[in-house]
């Protein structure tokens, strides 16, 4: 796992996971899996923008693009 994957995974665990026993990894569905809803996606997008000093256009911030940590990493890398 690289630094970006680790950082985003930890943030999702810290901010969005309710159940302390629930484990997620870089492939776990976040949006379709009900861990992050479409409203909360905005705060996750803001976190990424702040952390990596990027701006993700709204049309790129789709539920599909945010569905796993791996997909999020791929999206972030487009704008770094």
């Amino acid at each position: 796992m690289d630094d970006m994957q680790k950082m985003i995974l930890e943030y999702v665990e810290e901010e969005y996971l309710e159940d302390e026993d629930e484990a997620i990894d870089v492939d776990t569905p976040l949006i379709s899996g009900g861990i992050v809803d479409s409203f909360s996606m905005v705060s996750l997008k803001r976190f990424l923008e702040n952390k990596y000093n990027i701006s993700i256009p709204d049309e790129k911030a789709t539920p599909e693009a945010f569905d796993t940590v791996d997909k999020i990493c791929a999206l972030v890398k487009e704008f770094i």
């Binding site: 901010e15 309710e18 159940d19 302390e20 026993d21 629930e22 569905p29 976040l30 949006i31 379709s32 899996g33 009900g34 861990i35 992050v36 809803d37 479409s38 409203f39 909360s40 905005v42 705060s43 803001r46 976190f47 702040n50 789709t62 539920p63 599909e64 569905d67």
Partner: protein, 568 residues
């Protein structure tokens, strides 16, 4: 042929006794929604028919017949009774869309207790306020939400029981907590259903208002009369339909039309307990051959965003009838659905307070895209002049949507708040809080709210509740919360904030405040944008002029600013 047939004929010959007769109900009889949705269907010989197809997060699928849901609701009802739950006790359902939510709802009603469903994404404060107001005696929840309950339970002296439906034994149970596993309980074949009558309370749904805390909308078992007939005539549910209502039972659509309506008609319904994904939704429709679909404009606009290619990958030919609720359905969405599904989404309009559909488009009535449609037969609806509370006589004038009280599913009061309930009536009309006009042909056209309440993705958010929560954040000195336009959700929450002296704004300030509200209230209430300002516009008496900020966000005329204190 649709159930409603000619709308005009139905209006001419309408009486709620049509519904009563079909349900074999006579005034003065006992009436229990839990019994009607399960036992009665089994007594009609449909016990082996599939009632419920449930699919979970991981794709796990479960199927239940009407006999199964009868037994499951009996089992939960009997369990609650044995735990000391009595008629009219409030029992909160704080669950994702798991089967126990649906069966628990019916089990609570069967023993005469009051079901209080709450959206499982609510944060601590939102949960606390609603349970405190209802003096909730028991909560049924699951492991993933137990931490929220534990954080607030000391502030809930009336709460005697916390039932956990998926306890796995990994951590010890704490005070007042009991494990309840439906599949490990001995099924209860026969339960003495409590003798509820027409006016016996059934459901307590909380909704947001402009000022004050959320209001508990009290419904009664007689609401079934409206919910049954509107499900039949508007959703046009037929014996062999496979129905999918995408609403969560934490909100009124999820109970009125996600439990009561379809099951009182003996219809097979599907539930997908999963977050939104266009691909997953289309696959679900294809897999289960869904024929009637009740969804929301926000979801429809999200599907539009996902594009037509996503639709083409699936065989959606099972779809027969599409309906929508929650916020106005824009004309583009209606036209789009006709193009890609070959069927228009028909808009329906109603509220938590009305309990059932009030204004709607109907299967055999001409659809005017963007219109709310016409009042359900038996519903007297009007647009009132805001100055006189008299109905406008001429078409096209924008005013207050109002209804003559008396339909079966009308709320009976706001819990502990009779004064606010009475204030909803003027001149013999129930005021919905929404505005519209009526055209020459009697179609209603929604124009907006009559107050500051924010309708985001079909859910109402009180600016007052968000502002109050913001003030509890260590950085915030003052705040004003308004709506701002949003392509998908129609509108979203925006906060204007002045910070306390010495607090610096940096990239993380906004994020910290957003997450604070998300966890305290809910993701819906979380401001999607925060604007930090030096001061907020106020009247000379010090009241924040939210109206000015709202007008700015929507590009509207600011109007009279003569009372503005800090006008430049």
């Amino acid at each position: 042929m649709s159930h409603i047939g000619s709308y005009d004929e139905r209006v001419k010959n309408f009486s709620w006794s049509i519904s009563e007769k079909e349900l074999d109900y006579k005034p003065g009889d006992l009436i229990n929604i839990g019994w009607y949705c399960t036992d009665r269907i089994c007594e009609q010989g449909k016990g082996d028919k599939t009632a419920f197809i449930w699919e979970g997060m991981t794709g796990e699928e479960r199927r239940y017949t009407f006999h199964d849901i009868r037994r499951a609701s009996n089992t939960i009802g009997a369990f609650l009774k044995n735990q000391g739950i009595r008629p009219e006790d409030r029992v909160c359902l704080f669950l994702d869309r798991v089967p126990e939510l649906y069966f628990g709802f019916l089990g609570i009603l069967k023993i005469g207790a009051i079901a209080q469903p709450l959206f499982s994404a609510f944060g601590d404060e939102a949960l606390l306020v609603r349970m405190k107001d209802a003096q909730t005696k028991a909560i049924i929840t699951q492991r993933k939400h137990i931490a929220k309950v534990r954080r607030i339970r000391d502030q809930l002296p009336w709460l005697e029981h916390i039932f956990i439906v998926d306890y796995d034994g990994k951590h010890p149970l704490q005070e007042k907590e009991t494990a309840f596993a439906l599949d490990r309980e001995k099924p209860v074949e026969k339960l003495d259903v409590y003798s509820t009558q027409a006016e016996s309370p059934s459901v307590l749904h909380y909704t947001s208002g402009t000022t004050g805390q959320p209001k508990g909308v009290k419904h009664v078992h007689y609401s079934l009369i409206s919910q049954y007939l509107t499900s039949k005539w508007v959703l046009d549910l037929h014996e062999d339909d496979i129905y999918w209502c995408t609403a969560d039972p934490g909100w009124v659509t999820g109970t009125s039309y996600g439990i009561i309506g379809p099951w009182s008609l003996g219809i097979t319904q599907c539930v997908l307990d999963k977050g939104f994904s266009a691909e997953a939704w289309y696959a679900f429709i294809e897999k289960h051959k869904i024929s009637v679909w009740y969804s929301a404009p926000t979801a429809i606009r999200s599907l539009m965003k996902a594009g037509e290619e996503a639709v083409k990958k699936h065989d959606l030919s099972s779809l027969r009838h599409l309906t929508s609720v929650g916020e106005p359905l824009n004309a583009e969405a209606v036209i789009w659905s006709e193009k890609v599904f070959g069927l228009p989404f028909l808009d329906t309009y109603w509220q938590t307070e009305t309990g059932s559909i009030m204004i709607s488009n109907y299967p055999d009535m001409r659809v005017k895209p963007g219109s709310m449609g016409k009042p359900f037969p038996g519903i007297e609806a009007a647009v009132l002049d805001p100055a006189t509370h008299e109905p406008f006589k001429e078409p096209g004038k924008i005013g207050l949507i109002a209804f003559k009280p008396g339909w079966p599913a009308m709320m009976r009061t706001y819990w502990n708040n009779e004064e606010t309930y009475r204030a909803k009536f003027k001149n013999g009309w129930y005021l919905s809080g929404d505005r519209s006009s009526i055209d020459k042909e009697g179609y209603f056209w929604f124009t907006g709210r009559d107050d500051d309440v924010i309708n985001t993705g079909g859910h109402l958010v009180s600016p007052f509740e968000v502002e109050s929560a913001l003030l509890e954040h260590e950085f915030v000195a003052e705040s004003a919360v308004v709506s701002k336009p949003d392509e998908v959700n129609m509108e979203v929450v925006k906060a204007f904030i002045t910070l306390k002296p010495g607090v610096e704004t940096n990239d993380d300030t906004e994020l910290k405040i957003m997450n604070f509200i998300r966890k305290k209230l809910s993701p819906l209430a979380m401001p999607q944008e925060i604007e930090f300002v030096d001061s907020l516009p106020k009247t000379r008496s010090g009241k924040i002029m939210r109206r000015l900020l709202h007008a700015r966000e929507w590009g509207e005329e600011i109007g009279d600013t003569s009372t503005l204190e800090n006008e430049e």
